[in-house]
């Protein structure tokens, strides 16, 4: 019984990594990154909730946040998660035109979210430095908005890369698409948590 086995004698030496396994460790790394990103949000949420618990003068005592716009935003993001998923289905079926159409819709929904968020910012009666609640509100939604902005840009890149003749993202090279999709679902999930904590609680 030896324990340093030369590769030739090992039964598994013929096993090489297939393309699928490559994507496996890349997605794994991306998930680790998203966990790290999620911890940043978790820190912000923890800070906000503690401020709220410790500091009675803060938030809703002064301002009642309007719900219609954020609810619309929630719907926009949830629908965009669904359309992204549709796009992925068409990419697997190698229907690039359909895939691009759904990606475009997804990107448009992301941009619509940002516009609606801007609109909300302009209608709010408080500014960044007015008080603790205002500061945390803008920090949280702004940090999330930054994520949506980056996500929308990445969706546009993916949209460009799935075009039929020369696009680099296709059934053989799914990883970039899957990575952006995972990121987008993550951003949507964070928004739902943010919506509950900031607007509903």
């Amino acid at each position: 019984m030896t324990s340093i086995v030369p590769q030739e004698k090992s039964s598994e030496s013929k096993k090489n990594l297939s393309e699928g396994e490559h994507e496996d460790f890349r997605l794994f790394g991306l998930i680790a990154f998203l966990i790290a990103d999620g911890m940043t949000f978790a820190g912000f949420f923890a800070a906000y909730l503690t401020f709220k618990a410790v500091n009675p003068l803060a938030p809703d005592a002064i301002y009642e946040l309007e719900l219609p716009l954020p609810t619309l935003n929630t719907i926009l993001l949830l629908v965009s998660s669904f359309t992204f998923h549709r796009a992925g289905k068409f990419l697997e079926k190698e229907e690039a035109k359909q895939c691009q159409k759904w990606l475009l819709i997804t990107g448009a929904l992301g941009v619509a979210f940002l516009i609606s968020q801007m609109f909300e910012y302009f209608t709010l009666p408080f500014g960044l430095t007015d008080n603790l609640f205002a500061s945390t509100f803008y920090a949280l939604t702004g940090f999330h908005g930054l994520h949506v902005t980056l996500g929308s840009i990445m969706i546009m890149i993916i949209w460009w890369q799935t075009r039929v003749p020369n696009g680099r993202v296709n059934k053989e090279n799914l990883f970039p698409f899957e990575a952006v999709e995972l990121y987008w679902h993550f951003v949507d999930g964070i928004w739902v948590v943010l919506f509950i904590i900031l607007y509903l609680l």
Binding site: M1, T2, I4, Q7, S10, K15, F25, G29, D37, A139
Partner: protein, 546 residues
């Protein structure tokens, strides 16, 4: 022949310059990046050490006569920040992790070589930025913890540069952590199980989990702090309705695990070095693995023991006292396992072994004072005194830095193909060990008698002890000279080490020294028992492999 487990499609050879120039280039080779981390970290260690020297010179007399108080505060802040973020964390994780982990998992490179190179190249610019802030309107003055409201009210420029630089270093650390997790979990050579990996892999896995979970919280906190400074928001500013305690909670949620980010890899490195130089298997492999994971879990839930004097409610004090005391259990398991590894072994007292044994001694002393500090009444008595300074220097210098030196002596033949001079190494150890204990052991006494930390002026009754401590610091500074001389001398004129000078069984020694670009000329060897010393069949196989 196909190359197994090659993570990137590009061939690294074509991208990289050869010779020593490759160490100044954007190299994708994990070995080059590891040495870049090591050398870069050591340069920052020299800078941080000089700052420590300036602090000790100031403290030889009770008055603030060597430098103005503001400068003393800046020196103190830079010393802490450089030593933690630019020396220990990058070296114990980045340097040895990058160099060793691909060998240990049987891979040709890390999972994400480009991300790896980016993670390294974030460090030199942010470190230089941090140091140059001293010349632009004054560096940060609020200590490495940057507690508000002090960090909000002191001059802004240095503090903002400090925040920016720590954010970049945190990003570097997160990228590294993601890379290590993906490499260890997903890039193992086929046929190699997790429980057959060398202990350093487990230590790096635990550390990387801590990095991924806690560093982003620090990043978020520092972003909020920078808003407070630049945009005059009030997150942590009590005069605007903010809450400073929230900052402390968020800060220590990272900075307590940061202690484990500094010592867990050191634990792993020691677990590699002790078996080789005592020719015995690592005692209690499974318990070692579980104790690492226990430390990871407990390390994440004990942060508020830094805040016993911050008005924490009694239930919180109770919880954090108990959780902190519990960490002594897995740490004690590791300690006894190391001693049991040495027990009855054929110990060769070379420099690597001496530094590792020095680590064990210092770490036990630091651990005992740590358990003492976890007790609320005692902590309240010595809070923010030199007792705390002594405790954490025993942990991070007596623990991590001793292990870094031990590892340099141990892996230098692999890095360069040359042996270090053992006599100079032993001389280095004796100077460091005596200097270290002379410097920090008296500070326990200072703290118990009430000398506060972070002040340039103190009560004259403490002068003698402070001078003894400063002599110790001088010895530590001098101990660097034989080490540097040894390294330069050995690189130029040292004798050839051969592939495996220690007759080790861990995989990095089964290739040439220094290793070729993709680690092995042929296929990666499958090492199932990295600690199989005393197993006769095993040694025979290894002879054949040579």
């Amino acid at each position: 022949m196909t190359v197994s487990l090659k993570p990137n499609n590009s061939t690294p050879e074509k991208l990289q310059p050869t010779g020593w120039l490759k160490y100044l280039s954007f190299s994708l080779d994990h070995k080059v990046i590891g040495l870049q981390y090591l050398v870069c970290g050591f340069l920052f260690y020299l800078i941080g050490g000089s700052l420590a020297g300036a602090i000790r010179v100031e403290l030889t007399s009770p008055l603030s006569d060597f430098m103005p108080r503001e400068v003393y505060n800046q020196v103190l802040t830079l010393h802490g920040t450089i030593m933690i973020f630019l020396w220990i964390v990058p070296v114990v994780n980045g340097a040895f992790g990058n160099y060793l982990i691909p060998f240990y998992v049987g891979a040709r490179d890390m999972a994400f070589p480009r991300l790896n190179a980016v993670a390294f190249w974030l460090i030199p610019p942010s470190g230089l930025m941090l140091i140059t802030s001293y010349f632009i309107n004054g560096a940060a003055q609020s200590g490495w913890t940057a507690y508000p409201p002090l960090s909000i009210t002191t001059p802004a420029a240095g503090q903002i540069i400090w925040i920016l630089s720590v954010l970049l270093l945190g990003g570097s650390s997160i990228f590294g952590g993601i890379n290590f997790i993906a490499t260890i979990i997903k890039l193992r050579r086929p046929g190699l199980k997790l429980m057959q990996l060398p202990m350093y892999c487990w230590a790096m896995l635990g550390t990387s989990i801590l990095v991924v979970l806690s560093t982003p919280v620090l990043a978020g906190t520092l972003i909020l702090l920078s808003f407070d400074i630049v945009a005059h928001t009030g997150f942590f500013n009590p005069s605007l309705g903010g809450n400073v305690i929230v900052y402390q909670h968020l800060f220590w949620f990272y900075s307590h695990p940061a202690v484990y980010i500094m010592v867990l890899p050191a634990f792993g490195l020691v677990s590699e070095i002790l078996p080789i130089h005592s020719r015995k298997p690592l005692f209690g492999y499974t318990t070692m693995v579980f104790s690492i994971m226990g430390i990871v879990v407990l390390g994440l839930v004990v942060w508020a023991h830094h805040m016993f004097t911050s008005g924490t409610p009694p239930w919180m004090r109770l919880f954090f006292t108990i959780a902190t005391a519990f960490i002594a259990v897995p740490t004690g398991i590791k300690f006894f396992n190391w001693v049991a590894t040495l027990w009855g072994g054929k110990i060769s007292l070379n420099s690597a072994m001496l530094f590792s044994c020095g680590f064990i001694i210092n770490f036990v002393l630091g651990g005992i004072t740590g358990v003492a500090l976890a007790q609320v009444p005692f902590d309240i008595h010595v809070h923010d005194t030199y007792f705390v300074v002594a405790h954490f220097h025993y942990i991070v210098y007596g623990g991590s830095v001793f292990v870094i030196f031990s590892s340099i002596y141990h892996w230098f033949p692999k890095f360069t193909g040359k042996m270090l001079n053992e006599n100079l190494g032993r001389f280095h150890f004796i100077l460091t060990f005596i200097g270290f204990n002379l410097c920090f052991a008296p500070q326990h006494w200072l703290g118990l008698n009430g000398m506060p930390r972070r002040v340039a002026e103190y009560d004259p009754q403490f002068q003698l002890i402070n001078q003894i401590s400063s002599v110790g610091a001088l010895l530590m500074a001098l101990s660097t000279l034989p080490f540097l001389w040894n390294v330069f001398q050995s690189i130029l004129y040292g004798h050839d080490a051969g592939d495996n000078p220690w007759n080790a069984l861990t995989p990095e020694w089964l290739t040439s020294s220094p290793p070729p670009v993709e680690n092995w000329d042929g296929e990666a060897p499958l090492v199932l028992e990295p600690y199989g010393y005393g197993n006769k069949n095993l040694n025979k196989t290894q002879e054949q492999n040579k």
